[in-house]
Every structure is written in structure tokens, then in C-alpha cells.
């Protein structure tokens, strides 16, 4: 178990540092401007997050300090005129910092020499050892513990202890307080020296700060852009050697690119690890019993994606705890197991990660959703007869529905689903809700493994080029060969046994058409939606590097990012699903 979590220590420590830093910033703000509910909440959230991950790492002391802090903040939050003793919180944070620093245990050999004429030397040794145990872990003793206790040693016994510097100081002070001890020796242990010799093996794992990896990925992106610009120039060259050499260079670069992108992958556990405790605690607060099952938490995902995914996931889980799973009494009445269940299953298929969050709660109450949607004007009466699941899900995730807090109580869902969806789309992902009233709700998140470099098609629209991620593209077809027809004035494509409504790319983007012939059809399969987009021309299919997203561009919901192509100019990356959703309205 300990070994298992140690793998995540790096990410834990980095995250802890980040959180501490943020908390300190908030505290400084509070000190300067006074307490506000927002700052308190933010601080509380940070403390809560770190508590969760400390608990998962088995960092009991840190967890306890944070738990106390959380209690304190909780009380302050509830008072009408909140006052916060900033220094007190700083002190606690300092304690956590030193605990974090003191984590690396050191091995020492401690030899204790007792006075030759003391009575009951075995018992004396026993007391000394018991006291040492308060500050250090005893790994080994010479002679063995039983012999020491029985006094079966001449005048000295040796212990192999693990302790950090502070603890070691305390051990020294402690031994000094025994006048039965003639003298003692503490030396870094031989075992430690051995370990250092073996360090070549250990060094295979090194810590790299996440920002550094981000920088490397950025440089890699720049190199790829330059490479793409070089490519046409070199291909035109007469020099055969140059062309061959460039080809080799290109394939090496592609290998390097894969390796670099993998650097940023961390196990999903990093954000799921704290959940069992969190769910337990939250459920308890509501008087519910909830069992949690997590599968596939070792699957690795881009750290950036994982960070952004944390809040949406928490949202969904809070929904399940608060509104999905019923109270034990209600569950009994319904003939269900009084203990509810939330399961989270993570799966990886090719370049895509699926996270499935499922509860066996009340499910979404369809009638109430319909009623509410009609009241808020999202749904018209004539739509009701043919209302399918897809439309219900659309309603649930529409901003005008889900931002209303009443929707939350009514539907048992709703709150923040729009925010969840938006986050996922920005990550190039999607999500699907399946729910059966009375039986539970199942939400599947779909996200790419990596954000930095995506497989994409470049297509021509109007006079510009646009990028579409390939992860939803089921196929690209020549329009000439497609079976197309009209139904109620809408155009459809038939493929196999499926019908795909047809959209024109230029229309979706609001581009003026110049009567170009639409030659290509991209067939898209999303979580809830299947459709086809027609465009004039597919320019290329290639890996594109996603540049850091500019906030202003991100305000356009269907633009998920920017890339730079070989001409050195920036191009927009378009999410096909959200642009079609927008186009339908």
C-alpha cells in the first residue's frame, strides 16, 4: 500500500506546494483587506483539497493539521462577523511545510552504551527504546529486541533508526536525559551508504517541475512548426541527400514528440485518490451511506487535462451524493439496498480516455425536467410528443436550464452540468448522460489523453483554413459517393444503417459562400450526437500542436485552441460538436 502511493509523491508534493502558495496568497489578502466570504471559501477549498490528497498519501500528521484548520474555517464561515487569526493559520501552514520537507527519512546507526553497573539493564534498554520510538522508526537492532530486553548484551546495543533532522535532535536530547547511559554514538548508517551506491538505480526516477515540462512541450511545438515550414522547401530541393536526411529528421522528431508528450502523463489516481474519503465524509454529513468503487485509476492522462477535470468530476460526484443517492430510509422504501453506490471506471481506448461515473440513485426525473424546461422557455409544447433522450440531455446541459438553482432540486441534477460540458469541450472532450428514473444515473466523460499535440484534419472554409480534431471523426468521404436525401427539408446522409443530419461547414461558421462545390463529408460521432459536416476541401491530415489558449479566443465556445501551421500563421481549432449544437439553435 505504501509503495503504491509513493509513486504519486512527486505530484502530491508539487500540488501541496501549489496549494500552500495559493493559501498563503489568500491569507495575505485577508490580512490586508479583511475577511470576505469569497476568500474564506477559497481558502477552505484549498485546505480541503490538500487534506484529501494528504489522506490518500497516508500523511496522517499533515491530514490532522488540515482537518483542524478545516474545522476552524468551517466555524468561522458560519459566524456572522467572521474573524480570522491569520497568524494562527500561517503557523499551521509552516508546520505542514516542515512536515513536507522532513519527509525523506534518513537511516542512522545509534549505539548506546550503558553504565556497566546499572541494575536491570534490559529493562533500562527497553525504556530507552520505547522512548526513542516516539521520534524515530526502529528498523533493526543488535542484538535482537528480545535479547536486549533480557539484558543479553555486554554494555552496548545498537539500533538502526529512520528519522529526519528534527527528530534526530530530539532523539539525542532524549538519550541525554538518561543518566544510565554512559555515552552514545549516532552515525549515518552503513546501510545508507549502501543505498547511495545503489542510487544509480534510484536516479532513474527524477523529479521535474511541471512548468518545465510545459516549456519543453512548447519548444517541441515550435520545432514542429519550423519543421513543417521547412518541409516544402526541402521537398523542392534537388539535393537528394538533403531530402533523405530531412525524412530521417522528421521520423526522429516524431519519436521525440511522443516521448515528450508522455512526460506530462500522470495517473488518474492523482485526482481520484482523495475521493473515497471525500465521498464518505460528504455522505455522512447528509446521513447517507455510500460505497465507492474506483477502477482503472492507474491509467495515465495529461496533467493539464487532469487538473481541469478535477472540478467537473467533483461536480458530478457531489450531484450523485447530494441529489442522486437517496436517504437510507427512502432507499429501503423503494426496496433498494440502504447503502448507495457510486462507481468510477476509467478506461483508455487509443488516444481517448473514458471516465464513467455511475450511481444507483434516484435518476433524473424526466417529467420534472420537461416541466421546468417549458417554464423557462427552452422547450416548446409541440416538441413533447417526440421528445427523445438526446433532447432531454441537451436541456439538462443548456446554460439557461442548469444555472437555475431550482433546477437542481427538481431534476436531481442540473446544477453545473453546463459548466461541466463547457470544460470538457475546451479539453477536446465530450460527455454523455444516461439515466433511468428510480435506478440511477450514468455519466461518461470522454477526453483525449494529451492536450499538447492532437491528430487533426485541416479543412478549407471560405478563404481560410480551419483545424478539426480527429477524435470524433468516424470517416471522411467523397460527397459524390454518398447517399444523400431530404427529409422535412433537412438534408441527411445514409451510411450503413445510420442516418446523419448534414451541416455545411461554411454555414456553421457564418462564412460567405462563393458557390464552391462541397466535395468532402466528415462523418462525426460524438457521445450524444452523430452528424456529417460538408466542406469544400480537406487540405491535410496531420498532428497539430495546440498552442496555449488565449483567453479571448476561448470565449468563443466552439474554438478549443489555436495552432500554427507551416506558413507561420495561427489557425483556429474548432470543436465540431459544439459548433453543430450552436448551429441547430
Amino acid at each position: 500500500m505504501i509503495k503504491e502511493t509513493e509513486k504519486y509523491r512527486t505530484i502530491f508534493e508539487l500540488e501541496a506546494k501549489e496549494i500552500i502558495q495559493k493559501s498563503e496568497e489568500i491569507l495575505l489578502k485577508i490580512e490586508k483587506d479583511g475577511v470576505s466570504p469569497e476568500l474564506l471559501n477559497e481558502l477552505f477549498r484549498h485546505i480541503h483539497t490538500l487534506k484529501g490528497s494528504s489522506a490518500s498519501m497516508g500523511e496522517k500528521e499533515i491530514e490532522e493539521i488540515l482537518h483542524m484548520l478545516e474545522d476552524k474555517l468551517e466555524k468561522i464561515r458560519k459566524t456572522k462577523k467572521p474573524h480570522l487569526d491569520v497568524q494562527e493559520i500561517f503557523n499551521s501552514i509552516d508546520m505542514i511545510k516542515s512536515l513536507l520537507k522532513g519527509q525523506k527519512p534518513n537511516l542512522y546507526s545509534l549505539e548506546i552504551f550503558l553504565h556497566p553497573d546499572i541494575p536491570l539493564k534490559g529493562a533500562r534498554a527497553f525504556v530507552i527504546i520505547n522512548n526513542i520510538k516516539k521520534y524515530a522508526e526502529i528498523k533493526k537492532s543488535e542484538p535482537d529486541m528480545e535479547s536486549i530486553q533480557n539484558g543479553e548484551f555486554n554494555i552496548s546495543f545498537r539500533l538502526l533508526i529512520i528519522s529526519n533532522e528534527d527528530e534526530l535532535k530530539k532523539v539525542k536530547e532524549l538519550i541525554d536525559s538518561f543518566s544510565d547511559v554512559e555515552y552514545f554514538k549516532i552515525t549515518p548508517s552503513v546501510e545508507k551508504i549502501k543505498k547511495e551506491e545503489g542510487k544509480e538505480q534510484e536516479i532513474r526516477e527524477i523529479k521535474i517541475r511541471a512548468e518545465r515540462i510545459d516549456r519543453i512541450i512548447n519548444y517541441m511545438g515550435e520545432i514542429l512548426i519550423e519543421k513543417d515550414r521547412l518541409k516544402p522547401l526541402i521537398q523542392q530541393s534537388e539535393e537528394k541527400n538533403l531530402r533523405v536526411s530531412f525524412e530521417n529528421f522528421e521520423s526522429m522528431l516524431s519519436l521525440l514528440q511522443d516521448e515528450i508528450v508522455n512526460l506530462r502523463l500522470v495517473p488518474v489516481k492523482a485526482i481520484l485518490g482523495f475521493l473515497p474519503r471525500y465521498i464518505r465524509d460528504e455522505a455522512k454529513k447528509l446521513g447517507k451511506n455510500i460505497e465507492i468503487e474506483i477502477q482503472g485509476e492507474d491509467i495515465e492522462v495529461d496533467r493539464i487535462i487532469l487538473e481541469k477535470l478535477k472540478d467537473p468530476l467533483l461536480h458530478l460526484i457531489r450531484n450523485s451524493i447530494g441529489h442522486g443517492i437517496e436517504s437510507p430510509e427512502e432507499r429501503k422504501r423503494k426496496g433498494k439496498n440502504p447503502e448507495g453506490k457510486i462507481s468510477i471506471v476509467v478506461k483508455k481506448e487509443k488516444g481517448t480516455i473514458f471516465i464513467n461515473v455511475k450511481d444507483d440513485g434516484a435518476g433524473i426525473k424526466r417529467e420534472k425536467v420537461i416541466k421546468k424546461a417549458m417554464e423557462s422557455g427552452i422547450l416548446k409544447e409541440e416538441e413533447i410528443p417526440g421528445l427523445d433522450e438526446e433532447r432531454i440531455m441537451e436541456i439538462l446541459t443548456s446554460p439557461s436550464f442548469s444555472t437555475k438553482s431550482e433546477a437542481d432540486e427538481l431534476s436531481g441534477r442540473g446544477i453545473g452540468l453546463n459548466a461541466v460540458r463547457e470544460t470538457l469541450i475546451k479539453l477536446g472532450g465530450d460527455f454523455r448522460i444516461q439515466s433511468e428514473e428510480g435506478k440511477g444515473t450514468e455519466i461518461t466523460l470522454r477526453i483525449p489523453v494529451s492536450l499538447a499535440i492532437i491528430k487533426a484534419v485541416i479543412l478549407k472554409g471560405g478563404k481560410e483554413k480551419y483545424i478539426l480534431p480527429l477524435n470524433y471523426v468516424q470517416g471522411i468521404y467523397n460527397v459524390k459517393n454518398m447517399n444523400m436525401f431530404y427529409l422535412k427539408k433537412r438534408k441527411f446522409i445514409v451510411l450503413g444503417k445510420k442516418l446523419y443530419p448534414v451541416f455545411e461547414f461554411n454555414d456553421l461558421l457564418g462564412l460567405k459562400e462563393n458557390g464552391e462545390v462541397l466535395k468532402e463529408a466528415l462523418v462525426i460521432e460524438g457521445e450524444n450526437k452523430n452528424f456529417a459536416i460538408l466542406c469544400e476541401k480537406i487540405v491535410a491530415q496531420q498532428d497539430v500542436f495546440v498552442k496555449n489558449l488565449d483567453e479571448t479566443v476561448m470565449k468563443i465556445p466552439y474554438v478549443t485552441g489555436v495552432t500554427i501551421l507551416e506558413d507561420g500563421k495561427p489557425y483556429l481549432i474548432i470543436d465540431p460538436i459544439s459548433i453543430v449544437t450552436k448551429g441547430e439553435k
Partner: protein
């Protein structure tokens, strides 16, 4: 306030001797008794900071008294008082949860050293 100590020993002479050492060391003797059963009762009443416990007493052994006291208060701090050569009994009481021991005849410095170390924690 000075830390309060309960002395348990069947010999009045020993109680006096130990009491004087402790008083000189700045401790308050809040009670004393000659039997294990009384010790358990007094512990509950007085809630002393530390108990000195003789190992061999007429009614019950000091070790059993240690076990009983620790049952009512797992945090109880108990210092065993032993005669020479009782290694096995001392070990048993330490394993039962006593914090330390002193050996008769007393060396005042040793007694105070042990008491101080226990109470400090």
C-alpha cells in the same frame, strides 16, 4: 501548579523516602496508599499527573494495578518502583504500559530524572 503524584507502596518508610525526594524536586504528593486496590480507586478520584507503583504488594501485584489503571485511563503515567533483581517483573510492567522504573535503594537524581522525563511528554 506543581505536577501531582500518587505514591503506591506497601512500606510506609518507602513512601516517606520517595515522597521527600519528589517534594524536593518540586512535585506535590496528592495521595499515597499501600494497596493496589486502593491505588485504582485513588487514581480515579485524584487524577494525578503520575503514579509511582511498587511492584510487589500484599493484595495485588503492582503490574495488575497498572493494567487496571490503564484500562480507566490509557494516558496514565506510571513509574514502577522495583527492588534489585526484578528484571522480569519490571519488563512485564513496562510491557503492560508503565513508562519507566526506578530501583531501590533510590538515587534521588535518578528518580527525578525519570519523573521529569515522563511528565514532560
Amino acid at each position: 501548579m506543581n505536577p501531582r503524584i500518587l505514591i503506591v507502596d506497601d512500606a510506609k518508610f518507602m513512601r516517606k523516602l520517595l515522597g521527600d525526594i519528589l517534594k524536593k524536586g518540586g512535585y506535590e504528593i496528592c495521595g499515597e496508599t499501600s494497596t493496589g486496590a486502593e491505588a485504582i480507586k485513588l487514581y480515579k478520584e485524584l487524577k494525578p499527573d503520575l503514579v509511582t507503583m511498587d511492584i510487589i504488594m500484599p493484595d495485588m501485584s503492582g503490574i495488575d494495578a497498572v493494567r487496571e489503571i490503564l484500562k480507566t485511563d490509557p494516558e496514565a503515567k506510571i513509574l514502577m518502583v522495583s527492588a534489585m533483581g526484578q528484571q522480569a517483573l519490571v519488563l512485564e510492567s513496562l510491557q503492560a504500559g508503565a513508562k519507566d522504573y526506578v530501583v531501590k535503594p533510590f538515587q534521588p537524581a535518578r528518580v527525578l530524572e525519570a519523573v521529569e522525563r515522563i511528565i514532560k511528554k
